[in-house]
Symmetry: none
Subunit: 179 residues, 4 copies
């Protein structure tokens, strides 16, 4: 494991992510973040303005990193290939940034978090629709809606640690779509 010396700012970000993800945003005080990051409480406010802005920063930079890592996500070789990729996406996301997705799962009622996630996931919808159309599913819109719900459910449950056998589940879903 790489032992990097983090700048104080990065240490705050990392610590806050960890605490927000594990205890929730409201249940984590700035004092606690400061203590765990071995930093003065005032520094949090110097760097991020206020507690909510700190959260927003974490969310934004989280999605930025995710987008970089999963640029090719949308590449469409074939319908079946795309479906497969989408079904396997949750496991990959959570494996890459487990704390970030755990936080996202907790923030399902935070308006900024929701809107960022929608922005991230919305582009998938039309491609999924096209895939189901190509595969001649009788109700492609409904199929799309359902699969998106399933995908959403999968990363949320994986992020929480509720799922032990993610790959098996993914395989089952793939089989249901004849992949």
């Amino acid at each position: 494991m790489k032992e990097t010396v983090l700048s104080r700012k990065e240490k705050i970000l990392q610590t806050a992510l960890q605490l927000f993800a594990n205890k929730g945003y409201l249940d984590t005080s700035t004092k606690e973040i400061a203590a765990k990051a071995e930093v003065s409480e005032a520094l949090i406010f110097r760097h991020f303005g206020n507690k909510d802005a700190l959260l927003v920063h974490i969310i934004k930079s989280g999605y930025r990193k995710v987008l970089l890592h999963h640029k090719g996500m949308m590449s469409y070789v074939s319908a079946k290939d795309f479906l497969k990729k989408m079904i396997q996406l949750p496991s990959k996301l959570v494996a890459d940034e487990p704390l970030f997705w755990k936080l996202q799962e907790r923030l399902s009622h935070h308006s900024f978090s929701r809107s960022q996630h929608e922005q991230f996931i919305k582009p998938v919808q039309p491609v999924l629709l096209r895939a189901f159309q190509e595969l001649a599913y009788p109700e492609p819109e409904l199929e799309t809606q359902f699969l998106m719900l399933v995908i959403d459910m999968l990363w949320k449950r994986e992020a929480c640690g509720d799922i032990k056998n993610a790959s098996e589940l993914a395989r089952l879903v793939e089989e249901k779509y004849g992949l």
Copy 2:
């Protein structure tokens, strides 16, 4: 609609449920509950001891009511019939007690709430397993796990108001199981 005169205690319970469901437990102060219920803040503590006990009371009595309404839920006529009932369960639950399920959805990280829900839903698992076995699914355990996740996802999304076409979705799922 029935216009009942509520006792103060019931008024508190109803108001708290509404606020907890819509704004979240931590974001709702006892002061706010008291104001909206037109009751003194102290009365909340006289009746329920503390804020967390109030929440626990709401959860307990919620599941009690749900169990009464859905006693027959577990009756097993045939495998297909049972699957159908389970798939349609989310819509029925949410239609019956929308605020309660909205609250439950928000409480996915509250330990008491989680354990109560598990207690409520766990009996379904073996029956579902038996159904999939009878229907000769090759991996009945995995199928059970997946369907339970789907059912869970459905009531959560319906409770949040994220799903407009619940019955269509249910029908789609039924078709996927050949029902």
Copy 3:
């Protein structure tokens, strides 16, 4: 001197008035008020909402009291009589409520305080104008403006304790107007 038992709320008001008047609003912390009033800091906020509302309460109730005590202020028997009353007003006001006027003097840049004072003093203007007109002063408007400035100066300086010989000064001013 009457030794009344004050309610906690009244004690807060009295203490805050004293501290605001002597040290200034910004230089007085709610903690300090609470300590001197032998009351918890939280009680200040329970009773008045926030620090500024406490100040506003003090100002409002101060002017209410002043208006009660000086109802007859505006009665107009004769021009000379009215001028005399106005010239003697500052001493009377400050003698009645020394702390309140000391506070007002400090608040000359607080918008609410200013507007309240204007409301209190504005009715004097037209009557003063009429008096100067009756006395055939060649520039009654200008005379009114000047006398109002002088009156304002007098209560401010008296409230601060800057004037030792208020009655002599008043007499001098009276003589200047031939009273």
Copy 4:
């Protein structure tokens, strides 16, 4: 208007004067001064030690400049001439250094500011007394006291922008003294 390139130190002084005068000393943070002066906050402390010393510097150099500009103020040609000069002094002061006098007006409770102003204005008193004596006023001390209060009131009100017709007012006062 001269467009000088200000040194950083002068820029801080000018900016601080402006903010202190318009918003008050306590309501102006060093952060705000630094931002508006386009300078690091630390530089303020390097140059002036602390916030109060910055204020003191502004006051001192303000009075120094005022004294230079109004050296001849005390020259005594005749009693009437001196009274006239004193009555017109407020307008001249404020016209010369509007921000400085606005600041002074706000600082009437700051001990250093008060003492500096007293040092500035005290020499006027004996001369004024002599003038009233020469003009055979029956109570020259009282007249002196009153006129000094009026002069003080005039520059304060003008500095605040409360007086629109300063010259008319000055003329009225002159007439009252038969000038």
